[in-house]
Symmetry: C2
Subunit: 422 residues, 2 copies
């Protein structure tokens, strides 16, 4: 059995949420636990209640809207993403997955469909990690991977504690931040944030897993010296050593794997004056690959390059591990549900591994999980220029809805008719 | 005729000045036009007056102490450097040249020597350029190379105007900031700020000129993208392009000249986040060589590397010229005076070209000029660790004194005797 969500209502609801925290250039500035976040949460609570869901909020502010199932023994099917945004981000990253889950439940109501499994729609708190780090904080606490107290004590740039900010917007709930139900399966729809679907002119993405990630920080310490009076052969230039390594970070992926990526995104120079040879340079490395062994190998190679560059320049070096996240392979039954839904709907789907972390990473540690990707024009992400056409939003949301229906099982249909089938 | 300065008095006077603005670690924090600068100026005015000099202060706060000469037609011999310091700098950079000039005049008084030429001791305002830019500002105004109003309107990091700060410490004088006398010759003693003299175990440096300098700023603009979801071949990474160029800045000097130096001292990355491919990178280049053609060639080569790196990464580039300073070759008669003084005193001297700019750069545009360098241990500069032994201070100051005496000419000697000769 296939259902068809209401495209116009999906678009209208997406536009409604995009007004809360809207920026002048069509983007979204809705940092977690801000006034805009409170406002969108109030709005979303109303929308969930209007769809007949019973809403609960847990200690991390995660919002769950529950629709009961027919089978008292069946575990819950969990669907959702996040409503917070990056600073000056786009309107699709997060909200599309939450609104699509809501739209699925609305469609079940329209169609009078009772599912075997209970269904929950979720809005995870602080997925972005731009105000409070780390990213995916609250699905991480819920999954038992991040201690609650550690999350509560995190502070933003102004020194405000996460717990206090959560209290301030009135979204510190009483429900424990843990799986308080038995969860059978989970699905998250998210924008791709990469170019593959658009480049191959696909309709929708079937996500088979999430890449392994390795984050580190390199520090080179040389000798600050006058740029005019210090001969080249007397120098220990920390920035020259860093440059050597950054060139290798660019090259290492091409020697390892088709999907390996490596990035130096941040770099700081001290003392940072035009006429002083750099003494200290700190920079980040970020390597990812679907295969954890490849990600590990990339880090080993970059460390070897760090040591070699330090030798050449006569500088000291340190490598600090910042984060390791193992790759995730989604189980077949959930990936199959997404794959079949897309195929049955006639969409041209591509299977891919997510290069970014998502709340689905943590959901997958609790129950069988998969993801649906919507096309991202030009792969643009974390910018107001982020764009997914309404057609692509609809295709992804419809895929999510039908995959979710597959996982939740149809117990009874009281209204509607064949014309709702696709 | 040779004279011998008072080593103990030189050391004592150096120690006195070093107490004004002293830091806990033995360095000096005496930013231009600060309270510490006022204090050292008051102290120095007293010392000059006690040495029989008539003091005048010009519109830029430059302090001149004049000792008349016997020949009414003879131009003035100008001697000095600066008393301001870098933030947390050393106690020798600047003050040694000013105190050595004072000590020369004191020795003339002790020895009852009247010179043919008038002598002036000078303390130039704001040589360092760390609070108000550019460096060597006030000798630059005096030489007519920097407009007075432009200097006055310069502001520090707190938005305070140079002119107001000068007024505030009471050192905005009435004398025009220009050569109000005829100047015949000038000498500046300064610490080397480089390693050559110490490495070759020399006593003193005979400076034959100042290198040509080229400063520029490169901007690469690529595309900010998600570090996890953007395949390597879709990237336009501004930091990778910058790294390519920085490696070349390290290599170009070795292809051009023995004395060529090239440095990237400052670099900024935007947005500068671990998981975002860098969109914009700005960095500086600083090339110097005694030969201006070589310095120009270095800039041409780096621009070619900038264009090539931009092509490889698919980023846009801009090159902005920040400063060009032509090299200075000191005239033989002044260099000979320094060379002969060092030789007659039995010092093992090395001739070198200054890799740093000095007030002597501007003095040289007004009259024949040369410099004396004192040994810098390890070449350390702009740090509290800057060090020149008292023996090396004495050797350089004595060289300055005898070179100055040579240029000023002895008209009459009324006291002292042969025992003052070396």
């Amino acid at each position: 059995m296939r259902i068809d969500i209401d495209r116009d209502r999906l678009v209208e609801t997406m536009k409604e949420q995009a007004e809360i925290g809207a920026t002048d250039d069509g983007g979204l500035h809705r940092l977690t636990l801000s006034d805009a976040d409170r406002e969108v949460r109030d709005w979303f609570r109303d929308r969930m209640e209007a769809a007949g869901l019973s809403v609960r909020v847990d200690e991390m502010g995660n919002m769950f809207g529950r629709r009961p199932g027919a089978d008292p023994d069946a575990g819950t099917v969990l669907l959702g993403s996040h409503l917070d945004s990056q600073p000056n981000g786009g309107i699709y990253d997060g909200p599309l997955g939450v609104i699509a889950a809501l739209e699925f439940v609305r469609t079940l109501e329209d169609e009078g469909i009772e599912t075997d499994h209970p269904i929950e729609v979720v809005n995870w708190t602080n997925e972005e990690g731009s105000r409070f780090q780390p990213a995916m904080m609250s699905s991480g606490v819920w999954a038992g991977e991040i201690p609650l107290e550690e999350a509560y004590d995190t502070t933003d740039a102004d020194g405000i504690r996460f717990e206090d900010a959560l209290e301030e917007i009135g979204y510190r709930g009483d429900v424990p931040a843990e799986p308080t139900r038995e969860y059978d399966a989970a699905l998250e729809l998210h924008v791709e944030q990469g170019p593959y679907l658009e480049q191959e002119e696909r309709d929708v993405g079937v996500v088979t897993g999430i890449v392994g990630l390795r984050w580190g920080e390199v520090t080179f310490t040389g000798q600050a010296n006058h740029s005019g009076t210090t001969p080249m052969h007397y120098r220990s230039d920390a920035l020259v050593a860093a440059s050597d390594v950054i060139g290798q970070v660019r090259r290492i992926p091409g020697t390892l794997g088709e999907r390996t990526v490596g990035t130096t995104g941040a770099l700081e120079v001290e003392p940072g004056s035009i006429n002083i040879v750099p003494e200290t340079v700190r920079f980040t490395v970020d390597f990812r690959d679907p295969d954890d062994d490849v990600a590990d190998e990339a880090i080993e190679r970059v460390k070897a390059e760090v040591a070699a560059a330090a030798d050449r320049e006569g500088v000291d070096w340190e490598y600090e591990r910042r984060m390791d996240a193992a790759s995730v392979t989604f189980p077949d039954r959930c990936v199959d549900a997404v794959r079949s839904a897309a195929a049955d709907l006639g969409y041209d789907a591509r299977e891919l591994v997510s290069g970014a972390g998502h709340d689905a990473t943590y959901m997958a540690s609790v129950c069988d999980t998969a993801m649906v990707f919507a096309v991202s024009e030009g792969g643009k992400s974390h910018t107001p220029e982020e764009y997914t056409s309404w057609d692509d939003c609809y295709a992804a949301a419809n895929t999510l809805a039908n995959a979710a229906l597959d996982l939740a099982g149809v117990a009874e249909r009281t209204t509607g008719g064949d014309d709702a089938d696709v």
